[in-house]
Symmetry: C2
Subunit: 155 residues, 2 copies
């Protein structure tokens, strides 16, 4: 049973054709995101592809509908601290509202943390609301500190 | 008076010669960091230089002693969210313990946030302990969420 689920809801890297599979609409469930033009999407996709394993976006495609129903990204920060160590930063994790309860979020997080580990990171971090703390604890994270933000007026 | 201080404690970008000016020893005040070999330092310096304005490390050098007495870094994350928006991530901010009270931390943060703004970021974020919340509020930040972390055993 696990193997069937594994195949059905496996995580793969974002592909350029995923724009037409609802990738942007999925992100809109997370935060402000107008529709993105094909050109802007392709430019950003190529910018991220150029850094290779230093920035990876995972997605789960629902085979039945052909839609992207879960995603999350991780990028690798290179430091001088920790003996020139590396840190994985997880961002923009979202599961389609119609696909909750299938542990897809956990699959995405596992894919991203394993990528960070394989890149030699000494830790992986993320910011989340207090509401999501318990979910990330189940994924093996613990609360470390607080996040501060400053928004710029030009956007 | 402000101009004299400005010249004396101006922020500039990290240079490869800053290793011999106590840059790594300064980082050791923040977190675990063994001594870094010249070769490892130069390799990491070149890796970061290769991404140009996407990863900037600011430093303040004390003219009298020739030592680096404050530093902080910012790197630019490129998203699909927020209409292919960009976010500045501030990391590894530290002021030498002998140079506290001169508002050097504020100068570093101002340098890093201005860099993020000039790069077209819609926000700049950082993680800190509860103890440093008031400092970052004075710098114009507000508490947004919590940070979760997972440490890997291989380090």
């Amino acid at each position: 049973m696990e193997n069937i689920e594994e195949r059905k809801y496996g995580v793969r890297k974002l592909e350029i054709s995923d724009k037409s599979k609802g990738f942007i609409e999925l992100l809109q469930q997370l935060s402000v995101c107008d529709s993105v033009s094909d050109r802007d999407f392709e430019n950003r996709f190529r910018e991220l592809s150029a850094v290779g394993d230093d920035h990876v976006i995972g997605v789960i495609e629902d085979e039945a509908s052909g839609k992207i129903i879960a995603t999350g990204s991780v990028f690798i920060e290179k430091k001088f601290l920790r003996n020139c160590g590396k840190v994985g930063h997880i961002e923009d994790v979202v599961v389609d509202s119609s696909a909750r309860g299938k542990h897809l979020g956990k699959r995405i997080i596992s894919f991203l943390t394993e990528h960070a580990r394989s890149m030699g990171c000494y830790k992986v971090i993320l910011d989340c609301s207090l509401d999501n703390k318990a979910f990330y604890e189940k994924c093996g994270f613990h609360n470390k500190s607080i996040q501060m933000a400053m928004y710029f007026a030009h956007n």
